[in-house]
Structure formats: structure tokens, C-alpha cells
Symmetry: D2
Subunit: 240 residues, 4 copies
């Protein structure tokens, strides 16, 4: 069965900043969605300024994997929507958090830490090394992804140690960063992927698109057992 | 330098339930504190019904490791105090979460998941197996800790996979449970330890006390680097 | 593309012990293979007493995932074959190690530890709890798998902590065991799955078959980058 | 009780290469030992060309933590000595593997993988970032260790994912590397630390010495339970 993706975007930079609109005239979400459609997924988009940020109960119920890009307006995302997204993740929905989404309410809530980092916006070369070549998210990738121009994010990145660390970035200015981080939370999976500053054409890059498409497949829900969380249970009957 | 411990207890069951008061006449905190004093730590206690729950800025600043027992009144812990405890943990304070503290605000916030489990209160035998005998928390322990009477907690326990899983419990009624779970969050360390229902004399048990004392030593703050979280940084000067 | 499975079996107990032959008249491998064929995989089998143990270069080259059952004759497996299997795993082939295969040359070599455990063969009830319900290997399973009669394996199991711990067993006699353990080694994936003593009909159990089929899918090779291991490399050309 | 350290060194480069002898006139081991003595540990040294490579049963029995530097003569280390060192690690001895020790028999055997990497010896700046500031091995360190001249080691480093990843290196030429890697194997602990090419004065660096001294403390044996590995056990007596 096809994995249904919802691409969520804050969508504010594109409206307020000509430099961003020049790169993403129809919004960052349109370009991420385009990449995922090319990969064969049924995709819809949702943005902050739609009612309920476009994430109605119906939309969430029909979403297998949600991608999240936000930056300047994390505080405008309603707590009620974050509650619902968190619940869906814990019940199995995949979540792909992109770039400045590291400070989104949903990501910091799922991590339990500040998720702060150091940064520099200086048109700087990034090289994303694949440190786990056998991981499903590494499929079809070269041993490193070269992005000629990106914003720098540097360690210390205040996250829990990833369950699986798939990628580490090198920046010309002297820093490193854990760029591809896998987590299981509840019955759901979360992948954080670093690149994607709004002024660079990162989401047009074929390898970046490949990573996001692979991550969607990796994060898709699994029809595993649904444990009776919080239940007061009886002893198992005599077993032999 | 001595590791300064604060033993926090909700302290309500002991006042309301004669059966609990019979086991812990001066409160659960008094018995946990007694064990830690015997292990050589300077210890103070704090309880829910003190001003600021006994966790003033001064107390938190003077606490290296905080132990947490709560059950019936998680909702009465103020968010402001939880904010401060979380911040201290991320800045390096150790946190030992005991038994029903799995549903405390501070633990669920640091985990990002529901932390729910299944349970049964039936005077039931628990055997806590040490699965990592080389871990500092295993020091001085036998290969299993036998508790003749305890409440059962069973999997699925809805937590992130521990960074280190040190103990797994067996229950006579048929369940297993990840009973000794280590996490790093920010610069701090968190240890969840399962046993300790309020109607059983668990915190008088020598091995249980040994676990808590070992966990305090493991969770003590480390004088590591203090990274400039959130800083906009310049490229490193030319390095060679 | 279909995942090609080779089911390897020592195959000695079945020839020497009527009680085993009664349960597995055509060998344990025949029954494991039957389960995997029903799950849709192309399957071949190989056994210890075939030339090169049935694992010729051609067979290994055509194997995406290898399952391994052995017990009484680990020492009869040639080091040359173990070398080749290890190399294939590190290059991406999946490996599913079953039950007493914990002491096989290939598993202990990939783990680097003794892989010893404690045990008891006493017709004993085992209950395998799924502790990670969102893991691909948990697909389609109930929250616990009940096996009325099995051999007991108990902790301490001397393995490296699994990258992902999916299942924990409860035994009626008082022990627990890490029963479903995922590892990445090189570009390959390894899954250890506990049950399967030769005198019990474990590999006819629908849930046990489901686990093995799921594990094959999880362990299948990924077409990721092939890193230039051991290479003396030049600095990357000027990048911006 | 003091942690007794044995510093092991191949000791061949120093005898054969004037450039190395100029940096380490009394051998790399002498300088590593000097740093550890300054940190307060009782230290002895051992080298390849001594009888039994200096690692007699008595020396191993009196060693709590062993540090290992080797490069050009890994193949000359006898398998019998490697067997004994592995056994001691699994029984609790700490092991600190330095730089080119990544290809030593003892490290590759404990890892189960090739431990290969890519490399370049080009007088190149390395910056070792601390990604886990709360880890005991990070105590007293700055947020990054700057080494003006070192050999480059680059990913993919073919190791199992570390149990804890404490450090990541940046190299001027464009690579990254997992530089500080913690493992538990058996009841013992293993730390791999990247820097230390024989032609650079790395082991005189105060921060490098601090890392090694911290790692010794972290890797020291714990007096935990000694599990009955391989035992055929009886059911636990009736427990309640």
C-alpha cells in the first residue's frame, strides 16, 4: 500500500523575503512535495496559515509520514496541533524534521532537550558523509553529498544520542554536525535531516531528495502489536 | 568532592493510607535518604507539600543528583518547578526516577513519550536480572535481585530505547520489564529504576539501596565543556 | 526484486536422534524454508555435510539473507567458510542467527564476545514479549508470542548491547532473556532470534515464522554507497 | 583503590625511523605513560619485542586498564597473547585503543568488523569536537581539541556503531571521523581514540592526555556480578 505523505511548511519566509521567493516561488513545501511525488508517493501539503495549520484530524489520520519545515514562527504553531501530531507519532506515524525544524515544538517535545546548536549563515560548503552505508536511508547515495552553499550548523547539537546516526556533516569553516539522526518514539519513527536553509536551492538537489524519499520509506508505520498502555492486567493463566 | 543528593517525595500516600504509613512512618523519602546517607552522601529531602515543593533555586543549585518518587499527585507538581528541574538536568544534574515516577511530569517531559506501561498490584514476586554486569550501576550486586513482594510493571513500557539497559525484571505472573534504564539528556544523566511500590518495604532492601547509591555516583555531574548553545559563531581562524 | 534466502542447518541432530527426527523428519532447514517460501521468498537450503557446507562462492553470491541453525557441531564448520560468510555480511548480506547458533563461529566472530548464556532443557513455557512494537520485525505480531514448551536461555547473555532490542523472553522457571537482537556489522545486518530447540516444534509456529520472515525483509541488503575502505585519499578539491 | 595501567606500544617505528625517534626518543609508550603518571595512575609499560610482548599472565592480572598503540607490526602480535587480552577485557579489564591500533588484532577481534577507514598523511589540521559534553571522558576538556598537525582518518570507519559517541573529528581536507568511541564488551569497556600518528607530538598535548586519563577512569573494572556463563541451571526455587 502506498505511503501517504504530508509535507508541512511554515511558509512565511517565502511571502516576506524576495530572496527566498526567488528560490522557492511556490514555497519550500512545493519543491519538497515535487521530489516526493517523483519518488512515487502520494503527497499533500499543509502550511501554518491554513486553518488548523492544514493538519486537521482527517489529514493526520490519512498521513503515514509527515515532513516538517519551520523556522521563524515556531511559536505560532498551536499547542493543540502539536499535541495531535505527537500522539500520531507515538501511535506510529513517521516524522521527518528538516533543518531549522530542530527548534519546532514537535521536535523539542519528542526529544525532551533544547535541540539548540551553533550556526553561521555564510554561503558555506557542506559535505554530508554517510557513516552507515548499510542503512535504508543510505540507499542510492554516494559516500558524501556535496552542497556548495549552505548555512552551517555545528556541534554541540543538544539532542539525545540518536538511536542510529546515519550522516555527519563537515563544514568548510571548521565544524562538524550529526546531520542524519534516527529515533524511535512510541510506535513511530523520527528522522532529523540537517540541510535546507531557505535561501539555498537545497531541496532541488537530487541526493537531498533521495535522502528524504528514503527516510519516508524507513519511517512508514509498521502494523505491529498495539500494546494496552496503562492497563491494569490479570496474571496470565497457568501456562503449562 | 562529595556528591550532594536531594531525595524528593510526593509524600501523600504516607499521610492518607495507614498501610503505607506502617511501612514508611516518616515517609518514603526518609528511608531512601537513610540508605544514601549510609552510602556516604550528604543528603537532604524535599516533598510536594513544602513551598515550591521544597525545590527552591537554592536547593536545586546545591543538588548534584535528585531522586524522584511520585504517584497519586503528579498533576499537583507545578510546571514552573518542572521547568527548573528540566533545565538543571540538561545542565548536568543527575536524576534518578523511581517506580511510579515513570508518569511524573519531569520524566515524561525528558522522554517525549507517554511512559505508560501495564501493571498489577498483587503481592507478586519480582526478580531483577542484571544484564550488564560491567556497568557502574551493577557494582556490588548479585546477578539478580529478588523482591518477594512487589507490584508488577509489564512491557510494553512506552519509553525511548534506553542508551544503556542495565536490568530486566521477571514477574511471577508472566511479564518482563526493562527495570534499569540509563539516559543522557543534555549534559545530564537520567536513571529509571522500577521497584518501590508504597505498600512494600522495598527501599529497606540492601540491594535496592545499593542500586540507588550506585546510580547517584553514575549520574553525578561531569565538569565537561559548556557548549555555546544557540550561538551565531564566526568561522574558526585559519588553522594551519 | 525478490530477496533470496539461504537456510543453513547443521543437520546432525535430525540424523542421530529419533526424537528430533520425529519433529523434523526432513531436517530443521526444511521447516524453516517452508515458512519462508509461504512468505513469498525464493529459498534454498544448505547443510554442514554438503561440500563446502553448501555455501559455495556461487551460493553466497546469490544469497541476500542467510539464516543459521547449528548446535552440536559448531567446531566442524570450516574457518574458510566462516571467513567468506563474514565477508559477505560485512558487504551487505543479512544474517539471521537462530537459537543455539549463538555459539556458532560466525556469530561469536561478528560479536567479539563469548555469547555464552545459562540454559535449562525442561519443557518449559516461554513468553516472548515485543518491547518495540514499531519495529519492522514486529509487524503482524501479537504483543507476546507464547511457546508452551521450549528450552530456557537466561541472562546474562554475553553479547554486545544490541543496536535495537525488539524482544525479551520470560521463562516460567524464573529467567529473562534478550530474545530478539538487531545489529549492524559493516554494511550488513544481523538478527539473533532465541527460540528453536531441536526437540520442540517451534519452527512450525505461525508467529515464529512471521518473525523470521520479517527479519529477512529487515536484513535484506541496501544498495548504499560502497566506501573505499583502506584507501589513501587526496584532499578534496577546493570546494567553494 | 588506584587504577593500575599498562601502556602497550609496538615500539618499532621509534627504532627504525629517525623522524619518529626525534619526537619520541624513548618510545611513544614513554610519553603516554608520563601523561598517565601525571594524572596519578600507577603505570607500567610493555612492548612488542619483550618476551610475550611484555604481557605475561602476571602483568595482565595486575592490569586494570590497558592502552594499545600499534601500526606496522600488527601481524607480529601472537594470537595467544591476543586470546589472553580478549579474555581479560571480557572479564572486566578496560582497553584504550589508540590511533592506528584500529587495525590491531585485539580491536578488530572485539569489533567483529574490518575497522578499515580512509587516510592521508599530510600534516593536516584536526579539530576534535566533543559531542557529548556530559560524558565522563569529556571532563575538563574545551568544546574542541585543536591539533595543528595530524594524519587524517576519514569515514566510512567500518566499526559497529559505538555504544556512546563522544567525539567527532573535522579535518581541513574535507573529512569527518568518529574519533572517540565507547563500547562495552563482556564485562569490560573499550574506548577508541583517534589521534596519535607517530611523526607528530600528539601525546604531549595536554588535552589529548586528559582524554586518555579520563578514558582510563571510565574504563576501570567494576566489581559487578560474575554471571555463570555457560551453566546448566535449575529452576529457581518456589519464590512466594
Amino acid at each position: 500500500m502506498a505511503i501517504r505523505v504530508t509535507v508541512w511548511n511554515e511558509g512565511r519566509h517565502e511571502k516576506m523575503d524576495a530572496a527566498v521567493a526567488a528560490v522557492y516561488p511556490h514555497g519550500i513545501h512545493a519543491v519538497i512535495a515535487e521530489g516526493l511525488k517523483e519518488a512515487g508517493y502520494p503527497v499533500r501539503t499543509a502550511t501554518l496559515d491554513e486553518p488548523e495549520h492544514g493538519l486537521t484530524d482527517k489529514v493526520l489520520a490519512e498521513t503515514d509520514v509527515l515532513t516538517w519545515w519551520g523556522h521563524m514562527a515556531h511559536g505560532d504553531v498551536s499547542d493543540a496541533v502539536v499535541d495531535k501530531v505527537q500522539k500520531r507519532v507515538l501511535n506510529g506515524m513517521g516524522l521527518i524534521v528538516l533543518h531549522s525544524g530542530h527548534l519546532s515544538k514537535i521536535f523539542t517535545r519528542l526529544m525532551g532537550t533544547t535541540c539548540l546548536l551553533k550556526w553561521r549563515d555564510a554561503n558555506e560548503n557542506e559535505r554530508i558523509w554517510i557513516v552507515e552505508p548499510g542503512h535504508p536511508i543510505a540507499e542510492g547515495l554516494p559516500e558524501a553529498i556535496n552542497l556548495p552553499k549552505e548555512e552551517m550548523y555545528g556541534e554541540r547539537f543538544d539532542i539525545p544520542a540518536p538511536d542510529e546516526l546515519v550522516m555527519v556533516s563537515w563544514f568548510k569553516g571548521g565544524e562538524v554536525f550529526r546531520s542524519g539522526c534516527c529515533y524511535k518514539r512510541g510506535s513511530g519513527k523520527v528522522f532529523y535531516f540537517r540541510p535546507g536553509h531557505e535561501t539555498y536551492p537545497t531541496y532541488y538537489d537530487a541526493n537531498v531528495r533521495r535522502v528524504i524519499a528514503n527516510a519516508v520509506r524507513w519511517a512508514a508505520p509498521v502494523a505491529g502489536p498495539v500494546p494496552p498502555l496503562g492497563a491494569n492486567v490479570q496474571p496470565l493463566e497457568k501456562l503449562d
